[in-house]
């Protein structure tokens, strides 16, 4: 028994070492740097400075993330429901093919595409003008907070839909058939039978998207108007312009705290799925 335990410990040692060395050490080092001075004494000055200078940006980041996640949830559930429940197989196969395309496009390319697409003189407005829906004077630029949300939703939609469609496809089909036989509409099947069962998966998809959105630097830099901007941009600015790692790490700590609650939910859910809890 004891040798078996020792064998198991040796088995997980390489993976644990890698996680410790390349994930936990940098994480704790940046947390330590956020609350200590150069001499090693504890201080909250960096956090105070971060809040003093960037509280608007922190609020802006939270609003952008929340708006993106709400839109993502609505759209990805709609597409996944259409794929799972639609009786028109040709539409489903077409949709099933096209929705995955953004998965293979990097964030920086997406930002560049959207920068020229959503601008006042971009292809979107040009198409509306050519079709007679707008005049050149009525066109509006979407570069700014709305553009940032559009880019995040555009890029993350494929990932969320993939997870949610998988969860919907894994449901017991006999329940859906039984509901149909009893006369339930597709909308009712979606809201009363499918969604309650896949809520954890939707939660996980949204959490992973939140963490991705929080970490992207290229989109607020290329689509945003400068002020207010997202936390990632401020962190890059503190490091590149001032070499101020303490305030950058303090901003990182704020990001960690926002993501930590979500990460706790995700880890708890994944352990629960594996039967560990």
């Amino acid at each position: 028994m004891r040798s078996s335990t020792s064998y198991n410990l040796w088995l997980i040692a390489p993976a644990a070492l890698m996680v410790g060395l390349f994930f936990l050490y940098p994480l704790f080092f940046s947390l330590y740097s956020a609350i200590t001075t150069d001499e090693g004494g504890l201080t909250l000055a960096h956090l105070e400075k971060a809040f003093e200078l960037y509280s608007n940006d922190i609020l802006f980041t939270i609003i952008i993330v929340l708006a993106s996640v709400v839109l993502l949830a609505i759209l990805s559930i709609s597409i996944a429901a259409l794929i799972t429940l639609s009786p028109f197989r040709s539409i489903v196969s077409l949709l099933g093919f096209i929705y995955r395309i953004p998965l293979f496009i990097p964030f920086i390319v997406t930002a560049q595409m959207m920068r020229t697409f959503l601008a006042k003189n971009g292809l979107m407005n040009n198409a509306f003008i050519a079709s007679g829906m707008l005049t050149p004077l009525e066109t509006v630029s979407f570069l700014g907070w709305s553009g940032i949300i559009i880019v995040f939703v555009w890029k993350q939609l494929a990932f969320c839909t993939l997870l949610i469609t998988g969860a919907m496809a894994a449901l017991d089909e006999s329940q859906i058939r039984a509901a149909r036989n009893l006369g339930a509409s597709r909308l009712r099947i979606l809201f009363q039978i499918m969604l309650p069962q896949i809520t954890p998966t939707i939660g996980v998809a949204m959490i992973l998207s939140t963490v991705t959105i929080m970490s992207v630097l290229s989109v607020p830099l290329m689509i945003g108007t400068g002020t207010p901007t997202m936390i990632a941009t401020d962190m890059a600015f503190r490091i590149n312009s001032y070499g101020d790692y303490h305030v950058a790490n303090a901003l990182g700590l704020v990001s960690y705290l926002i993501c930590a609650g979500l990460a706790w939910f995700y880890l708890r859910q994944s352990l629960k799925d594996k039967g560990a809890i």
């Binding site: 709609s78 597409i79 259409l82 639609s86 009786p87 028109f88 539409i91 077409l94 949709l95 096209i98 929705y99 395309i101 953004p102 496009i105 390319v109 997406t110 560049q112 595409m113 959207m114 020229t116 697409f117 006042k120 003189n121 971009g122 292809l123 979107m124 407005n125 040009n126 198409a127 003008i129 050519a130 050149p136 066109t139 555009w154």
Partner: protein, 82 residues
């Protein structure tokens, strides 16, 4: 009695067929909008790679060519040269 049942059945069939048609068109419109949102930016990027001049509010570039792409390729190669 039989006629009434027949009438009800035909009504039901009509309702069902009516129910399916708008749903089909709604799904088609949804897919068209989705395709525009998805392929619009990608098309935009592809057009810009072969556009020489593109003035607002024209839907397409007024001059097409590969000069800009070639120039940027040459600049990239030159910047990497020792």
């Amino acid at each position: 009695m039989r006629n009434t049942m027949k009438h009800q059945l035909s009504l039901l069939t009509l309702c069902q067929s009516n129910k399916i048609r708008p749903s089909f068109w709604i799904q088609c419109v949804f897919i068209l909008l989705f395709a525009f949102a998805l392929f619009g930016p990608i098309t935009n990027l592809l057009i810009w790679t072969v556009a020489e001049t593109w003035y607002f509010p024209h839907a397409l570039p007024s001059e097409w060519g590969l000069n800009i792409g070639t120039k940027s390729l040459i600049l990239t190669v030159m910047s990497q040269a020792p």
